[in-house]
């Protein structure tokens, strides 16, 4: 039965349930029009946005293109961009991020700008100056962060796909907590031009999608050399035309001991271990690997990241943006203070310089592990979505929730989260990490797993 017939017979009432690839196909075969597509998403958005608080800006009367959601930390020409901060309230950028320009060339339209933690600093979405986004699986829970709005927009079918940014887990973690696919590309794969900088040596733009194939396609669109990002060279990613391998024969899957230790929720562990068993069933060879410097990840991250933050946020002053610096939220202020301290005379060597050295060791951990395996798998987040407000007053507890995503960010390697089940009714994501610039393999493994399971078909009841 063709899509058109399905639609006619009322079997698929909602165009918003289609994946990106299905949407492209449907438009090409004229099963529905761009006007109908946009109308469907607009209606969905109108219905759900008030309760979920996904969009900080939404297009009123879009009729063209495939509607995508863009995290509000990525600049869009003539469309307000706040980075989730009051300090940028009313700021309308005069230019597009490279990734946005590349999407526009592919007939993508910006349906809305998604809520996020202020300047992407947070793991729950609660640091947004515009109120938290809610988890569509349970409105009393956080959606994860900082790409909170982008993850929820995809999970609740308020867009075909979304762009987010990942600095220490900000794509992967909310994807895991909301049950969507989220890919953080290798550092330098996608131009950062137009992504408002949080920590420049870590930030990366990536897709949040309904399926792995969609993520692969969006990566192809947005990747590649850019004359506006010196760190983004020789970085073109091409979708291989060959058929997807159904099995995983010959693939070595590394399981790091350090990602299954203290702090990992039992329910999450169970789901993730089952997913690893599934990979084995699909033909993968599972090997244990070690990443000995994992425990230093958070400490290193909070020095490197906050140092860069303190410098990157210096430009936001009343002189240029009309809002004084007391408009920063408390997490932004906290990191500016931390970073300023770590870079100060007399502390630089003990903090920043030492952290840079340990970062190298973490990178080497991965290099060694990848001698024994092709991908590394484990949990994305130690827990499922927690209650709104639960960790707001305990920054350290909040920081610890990124323990499994931060090391890959420090190493600059690609990682993704693919839905792998539920624990007590809340989604759990499987993290798959790959060698630098080898998104191909992690996408292959994720897609094999995804196609052999049916988690993607389970949607939140809204």
């Amino acid at each position: 039965m063709s899509l058109k017939e399905c639609l006619r017979k009322g079997k698929i009432m909602d165009l918003t349930k289609l994946t990106l690839i299905e949407t492209i196909k449907g438009l090409k075969e004229r099963q529905f029009s761009e006007v109908e597509l946009n109308r469907a998403y607009r209606e969905r958005m109108k219905k759900l946005n008030p309760s979920l608080n996904v969009y900080l800006w939404a297009k009123e009367n879009g009729t063209e293109g495939i509607p995508a959601a863009i995290k509000d930390i990525i600049v869009t020409k003539d469309i307000s961009t706040t980075a989730g901060s009051k300090i940028l309230e009313g700021f309308v950028p005069p230019y597009n991020a490279t990734a946005v320009d590349r999407l526009l060339e592919k007939n993508i339209s910006v349906i809305g700008k998604t809520n996020c933690d202020e300047f992407a600093m947070g793991s729950s979405g609660e640091n947004s100056a515009y109120g938290p986004t809610k988890n569509p699986w349970d409105l009393t829970k956080v959606p994860g962060g900082s790409s909170s709005g982008s993850a929820v927009a995809v999970a609740s079918d308020m867009c075909v796909f979304a762009l987010g940014t990942d600095t220490g887990g900000s794509i992967r973690q909310p994807s895991s907590l909301c049950g969507v696919v989220g890919l953080k590309p290798s550092y330098g794969r996608v131009s950062r031009y137009g992504a408002i900088a949080m920590a420049s040596s870590l930030d990366q733009i990536g897709p949040l999608t309904k399926t792995v194939a969609d993520a692969r396609l969006v990566l192809e669109w947005i990747s590649g050399k850019d004359g506006y990002d010196s760190n983004c060279q020789n970085s073109e990613f091409k979708v291989q035309s060959s058929e997807l391998k159904k099995d995983l024969k010959g693939v070595r899957v590394g399981v790091p001991r350090e990602y299954f230790g203290k702090g990992l929720d039992e329910g999450v562990e169970k789901v993730v271990r089952e997913a690893i068993k599934k990979l084995e069933k699909l033909g993968a060879e599972v090997v244990e690997v070690i990443l000995p410097h994992t425990e230093y990840g958070i400490a290193v991250y909070y020095i490197v990241m906050s140092s860069e933050v303190s410098s990157n946020l210096a430009k936001f002053t009343g002189i240029r943006f009309g809002k004084t610096r007391d408009k920063f939220g408390s997490e932004a202020k906290r990191r500016i203070m931390l970073g300023t301290f770590a870079l100060s005379t007399g502390y630089y060597d003990d903090y920043f310089a030492k952290a840079a050295k340990v970062r190298t060791l973490i990178k080497q951990d991965f290099a060694k592990a990848f001698q024994k395996c092709d991908v590394i798998v484990g949990p994305v987040s130690p827990t499922t979505a927690w209650n709104l407000g639960e960790k707001v007053n305990d920054p350290l507890k909040m920081y610890l929730s990124d323990a499994y995503t931060i090391p890959a960010s420090l190493a600059g390697i690609p990682g993704l989260s693919v839905p792998c089940g539920f624990s007590e009714g809340l989604p759990v994501g499987l993290q798959i990490l790959g060698k630098y610039m080898d998104e191909e393999t992690i996408l292959d493994v994720a897609e094999s797993y995804e196609q052999a399971t049916s988690w993607r078909k389970v949607k939140p009841k809204l």
Partner: protein
């Protein structure tokens, strides 16, 4: 210097220099905007990058890096294999990113030197600590209680050249600055115009008791001084002020001072307490600069520098050192001098003659036309000129014979008499005679008393 010899017995100046030079690249250091901002409509040469807009990133201008290395090589520096940009964090309204992209721990060029002369002609070597690449800031204009910002200059490439504290006299500083300016112009890396702010000097001045090896525990930074003359005056003033202060038993501290030309004195701008902590760290937006192959490439394209050219002129063309020095002062003059030499070869015009002509006429040969004219002029003068000494001797003897009175006058010590005799020779030959040879022959004849 007016400090007086008695004072130098006790104290000697310790001076280091920081020179900023704005490169004349086509585009800015980290974006594609035009770098030429001089008298342009404010904020027309700007883009998200040089305006420091959220999300913008720097992209390195290779032309600037090449020019920075050229400067480093001209100053006998080592070019490092691996260099890095860093962020210098500080707040000022003309700095849109909140930091300046500069270099601190990993400059492009290190450990160079340049020879300078003091006013007595003594030559000494000034060590160059570093030559590094950075970017300029925007420009503030204060008027009617308002401040306006023009970002046309924001992100224009700047090179900073830092010496060791090796200067001991303001005249050395002046010579150093002039030599740098000449090098910048030779390399065509900058117009190096002080008044336009293409070239900016900052001096670190302190004094120490003669014989003391260690550097003084303070230094006074002289900033925002836009001419060689003012800088020399400011340094002289500062040395005097500091010595007087020390003699009075005052303690000197780290501070920044400016120059008031009307009062002809330095004044306090910023004291140590207000000093910045720039919190330098590696610029994460830019990859490391791998310079190993770059150095060779740039070396091959280097032009001949004034000092080398001067020496070559002396040895190759046999001209005097003084003439050579004048000829190399401006790159164009040296270039056209050599062209003239080539053209003159066919007519047996000696390089020395051309050099004399150019130097004496004070011409700055700026075009092909002028070169041709210089050669033609000398050649024309020489057509039919009597050079043969035997012929000259004959004519001289005839003139002496016909002017016994002048000979008598000469013997009585009247120098005018000689002129009269030369005039006689000139009249006899209609001016077509080598005057220098006439003088030699004439004097010899008169002195020997070998007169008829």
């Amino acid at each position: 210097m007016e400090k007086g010899e008695t004072k130098t017995m006790k104290y000697e100046p310790v001076i280091g220099l920081e020179v900023h030079v704005e490169l004349n690249t086509k585009s800015k250091m980290f974006c594609r905007c035009f770098a030429d901002y001089f008298s342009k409509e404010p904020n027309t040469h700007t883009c998200p990058i040089c305006l420091g807009l959220p999300g913008a990133l720097p992209y390195t201008n290779k032309e600037a890096i090449t020019k920075c290395i050229q400067i480093g090589l001209a100053l006998n520096c080592k070019i490092v294999d691996l260099s890095r940009f860093e962020r210098k964090n500080y707040f000022y309204p003309d700095l849109p990113k909140g930091y300046q992209i500069s270099q601190y721990r990993w400059p492009l060029c290190v450990e160079g030197w340049l020879e300078v002369e003091d006013k007595e002609g003594n030559v000494s070597k000034i060590r160059i600590n570093r030559v590094h690449q950075e970017e300029d800031t925007g420009k503030l204009t204060h008027s009617d209680g308002q401040t306006l910002i023009d970002f046309n200059r924001s992100g224009v490439p700047l090179v900073e050249i830092v010496t060791e504290p090796d200067f001991t006299d303001p005249s050395q500083v002046k010579d150093y600055a002039k030599k740098l300016q000449q090098i910048f112009r030779y390399l065509s890396v900058s117009n190096a115009d002080m008044e336009k702010g293409d070239m900016r000097l900052e001096a670190n001045v302190s004094v120490r008791p003669v014989g003391q090896k260690e550097l003084p525990n303070y230094r006074v930074e002289l900033k925002n001084i836009n001419s060689f003359r003012f800088m020399t005056a400011a340094i002289e003033y500062e040395i005097k002020r500091q010595i007087e202060a020390l003699e009075k038993g005052e303690k000197l501290t780290q501070e920044t001072r400016g120059w008031n030309e009307d009062k002809r004195e330095t004044y306090l701008q910023r004291s140590k307490e207000e000093a910045h902590d720039y919190r330098y760290f590696p610029e994460p937006d830019l990859p490391e600069l791998k310079m190993k192959s770059e150095e060779e490439r740039v070396k091959e394209e280097m032009v001949e520098l004034p000092q080398a050219k001067m020496q070559r002129f002396v040895s190759e063309y046999g001209i005097s050192k003084q003439n050579a020095q004048v000829l190399v002062e401006l790159k164009e003059v040296g270039y056209y001098f050599e062209k003239a030499v080539k053209l003159g070869e066919a007519q047996q015009i000696k390089p020395q003659e051309l050099a004399n002509y150019i130097v004496n006429q004070k011409i700055t040969l700026a075009s092909q036309d002028q070169v041709l004219r210089a050669v033609e002029f000398i050649a024309a003068k020489r057509v039919g000129i009597i050079e043969d000494e035997a012929v000259i001797k004959k004519i001289v003897l005839e003139v002496i014979k016909k002017n016994p009175k002048s000979v008598e006058d000469y013997k009585r010590g009247k120098l005018n008499a000689l002129q009269a005799l030369i005039g006689g020779v000139m009249r006899k030959t209609q001016g077509k005679v080598n005057v220098e040879k006439v003088m030699v022959v004439l004097e010899k004849k008169l002195k020997s008393g070998d007169t008829p």
